[in-house]
Symmetry: C2
Subunit: 501 residues, 2 copies
């Protein structure tokens, strides 16, 4: 590679500060653009070509000490020549996980959509802040339109919303809004002025409900976990115990581990009766709303007060892309969060200051997260996005059928969504379910297979225990890059890695 | 442009879903990479070349209704041909603000560093999540190293830290940590179990202190604004009124409007005496720590408990890049925020699970924000970053000298940092300070000049009132792309736009 690059391989360290004229620009655009161009080629080659090629590794495992040495991370006083910096770009790419690879099944992000990626590059290049129309005219209007598009799928013709830095933040926003709607004095006086509040959710809801309750001063003990069957919150017996006031039910559409959908209509009945804020954490499951065939999983979502939906998950818009959608039309979001900073949200501007949306956020700087989704949506249309959702369900059905034909795969249950949870039972353990050490041995299978696949770099899939269930794998299928062949490979590979255990 | 592109100009709409085999990949890599390549060229040309050229406009002002029409934002059922999508990339670039332009003085972000931008592209291309070593091996180690580098500049050889989605979140984290250190039961029991808490800060501190207090259930009334001179918090008379317990002092290094630095050593004395958590919001000012010449502005920062520092501001690392630094060595951050999700932070992994840093955050998905800073730091070294800070101070000194030579410019005070706050007095108002309507007329000058510069697209600078001071301009100088000539242009342009008022 060294000879292909337009920079000399050493010696291009910048001259010291005191020799340069501080009145002149310090950055050379041609040199900078040349570097960016070369770096772009490396990304294209290493991450987008090799990194999506099934003949190449998903990961290049290194022990932390060795990796730290290879990367030479230390930050020093003097700069480095361009050539060495390009090598660094290559190294970072080489030792990073190829989340776009068709054999990356580890998490609910991954895959690559080139239109979304172009949107993300453009976002970075334009480097602006989504708080006022004056610095982000295009994105203020675009965010509004994207939120409108998402709300329409929920079933709302009006409403509000905002993009947040991740689903956990969206969930926290819902809590804060629900609390403020009931007790607006909380904004100025804090929680001390209120009765004790409680949140209802299922034990399989995302951990951010508890994190949010702790952060917002509500406390994790005030998150009441309601019993569920099949991973679903079916009913609520709302308790006003010890003077505590229930104020929010956080339902889940697509639980993290099992991909279960709470029955929203049934929960909505209870919320209406008790005047509780109904929040739907659809960070993972929300994208079923694109599909005519599968949107029934979220029937009743239009009765919610708020919905959190992360298009960076199933829609592969790219991290981060997380929308909080609200049915509210009373400007609750702004009233709850605003601080009216006069240096930013001046009221005597020459344009409609309602376009300055920044005060709806508890952030000040806020990244533009709408462009990547907008450009992808424009590129394939709602039907194209629906097709991706349908494809994921189709492949999961295929995978499950194949699993049932093979001896070593035991499903926890038939999947409702695209999470497939299963134990792999190595031949040596088959038929020995009655043995006293069976569960202990089974618990150790997944970690060993995981270690082997990571060290060989052939694929990535996660495992976890859940309640009294010992470690099982959770394979997640959603990337539009994945084919039936990858499903077959997945099963063969689990067998190959685990058959001797 | 139409003929230069490798895509036909129409008709390339994808075939409908039901005709395609859902078992096969839905994305064509060659077509996608071709699109990304073409889009990259447009970004290079429109944003990085034209967008940094002083002969070109900073902004292309359009009224919202007209802009919405031009952009055709609506999201539809069917996709669009590649050619039209490339035109959309071009349009988004055209109508967006050129924040890298040497005449963008509007906010504390802007400018472009090509190494940082390459780091941002690579971050987007790799699309991973900074929560576990298994999905982000390079970035877990890199974040640790970058945080170490920043802490060293604060003066700490040990400690902790995390990158947050913006300075407001960093400030909230500091509040939550301070609260938890004093009353660990808050995590489970909420604020009800605690005495009322108060936060001390200056009226010129960032509005996120109040937003954070509201969000965390502390309440804005419990943020005590302490009187200041020259925009600085000089002393604290800590009051335990009505049984309230002070628990945190939020000092500011580089206030948003005036760029004032609170005297940290003096405040540290009070915090030590009363055992208060000392937080330094150095989101804007922190970068002076790179400069031998200017780091005295933050003398005493090493006595703080926490420091918020946004390298996306003066260091132009790109939005978002915001570090929270902690002196703590007791794992407070993790203890305070952790939820120990078993599906993500399994304890039986085959590597050291202390490398799974995600549970330090209240987010689950967390963007990689360290690579852009790391690559830029590697490229120019600490001395190169110091030089940029020194250059900004140098240009500000020059600007202020020139202002003092011109009749129409009245400084609010001599700047301590790189914020220059001033009134422009049009010729018709000079010498009429005694007139009854003088302040009313003066208040209207800045908004008119602002409107004119936006509509002509020649430059961008912000204005605001502050306390009893009517609208004044705040020009911020930090981009390494800016030269003395741009300073001269700035003054000439204000005169040109405002001389007839």
């Amino acid at each position: 590679m060294a000879n292909m690059l337009p920079f000399p391989s050493d010696g291009q360290v910048k001259e010291p500060a005191n020799l340069r004229d501080l009145g002149e620009p310090l950055i050379d655009h041609s040199e900078g653009q040349l570097f960016l161009n070369e770096a772009f080629k490396i990304m294209m080659e290493e991450v987008l070509c090799k990194g999506t090629d099934v003949k190449q590794k998903v990961c290049e495992w290194k022990e932390p000490e060795e990796l730290a040495q290879l990367l030479d991370l230390e930050l020093r006083a003097t700069g480095e020549p361009q050539q060495r910096l390009l090598q660094r770009v290559k190294d970072v790419a080489k030792y990073s996980i190829k989340t776009s690879h068709p054999r990356f099944f580890n998490q609910q992000f991954g895959g690559v959509d080139y239109h979304a990626l172009a949107g993300r590059f453009l976002t970075e290049t334009l480097n602006t802040n989504l708080f006022t129309y004056e610095v982000a005219p295009v994105f203020v209007l675009m965010e509004t339109e994207v939120l409108r598009g998402l709300r329409q799928l929920v079933g709302w013709t009006e409403g509000d919303g905002i993009f947040c830095p991740g689903g956990s933040t969206s969930n926290m926003y819902a809590m804060n809004l629900a609390r403020y709607r009931l007790f607006p004095e909380v904004k100025s006086q804090g929680v001390w002025s209120l009765p004790r509040l409680t949140i209802f959710t299922s034990p399989e809801s995302h951990y951010s409900v508890k994190k949010g309750a702790a952060f917002l001063g509500i406390g994790t003990d005030n998150v009441i976990l309601v019993k569920v069957d099949d991973g679903k919150l079916h009913s609520l017996s709302v308790c006003f115990y010890q003077g505590a006031v229930p104020f929010l039910v956080s339902c889940t559409s697509g639980t993290t581990v099992q991909g279960a959908f709470d029955p929203l209509d049934r929960i909505a009945d209870v919320c209406e009766k008790h005047k509780l804020w109904m929040h739907v954490d659809a960070a993972w499951g929300g994208s079923v709303l694109f599909s005519e065939q599968h949107r029934h999983l979220m029937k009743g979502v239009d009765r919610a007060n708020s919905v959190a939906w992360n298009p960076h998950k199933m829609l592969i818009a790219g991290l981060q892309c997380s929308a909080l959608l609200l049915q509210d039309t009373t400007n609750l979001l702004k009233r709850c969060h605003s601080a009216n900073a006069t240096y930013l949200f001046q009221q005597d501007k020459f344009y409609d200051v309602n376009l300055d949306v920044g005060d709806k956020s508890v952030q000040c700087s806020r990244k533009v997260d709408c462009l990547k989704l907008w450009l992808m949506w424009k590129a394939v249309g709602s039907t194209g996005l629906a097709e991706r959702v349908d494809k994921a369900f189709f492949l999961v059905r295929y995978l499950v059928e194949q699993m049932k034909k093979r001896e070593g795969f035991h499903l926890l249950r038939d999947p409702e969504y695209v999470n497939v949870c299963f134990w792999f039972i190595p031949p040596s353990m088959r038929g020995k379910e009655g043995n006293a050490d069976y569960q202990d041995r089974l618990a150790k299978v997944a970690p060993v297979i995981k270690e082997r696949m990571m060290k060989q770099g052939t694929m990535m899939v996660g495992y976890q225990p859940l309640g009294n269930k010992v470690n099982f794998f959770r394979v997640i299928v959603f990337s539009p890059l994945v084919s039936q062949k990858d499903m077959d490979f997945f099963l063969d590979e689990i067998e190959r890695l685990g058959n001797d255990l």
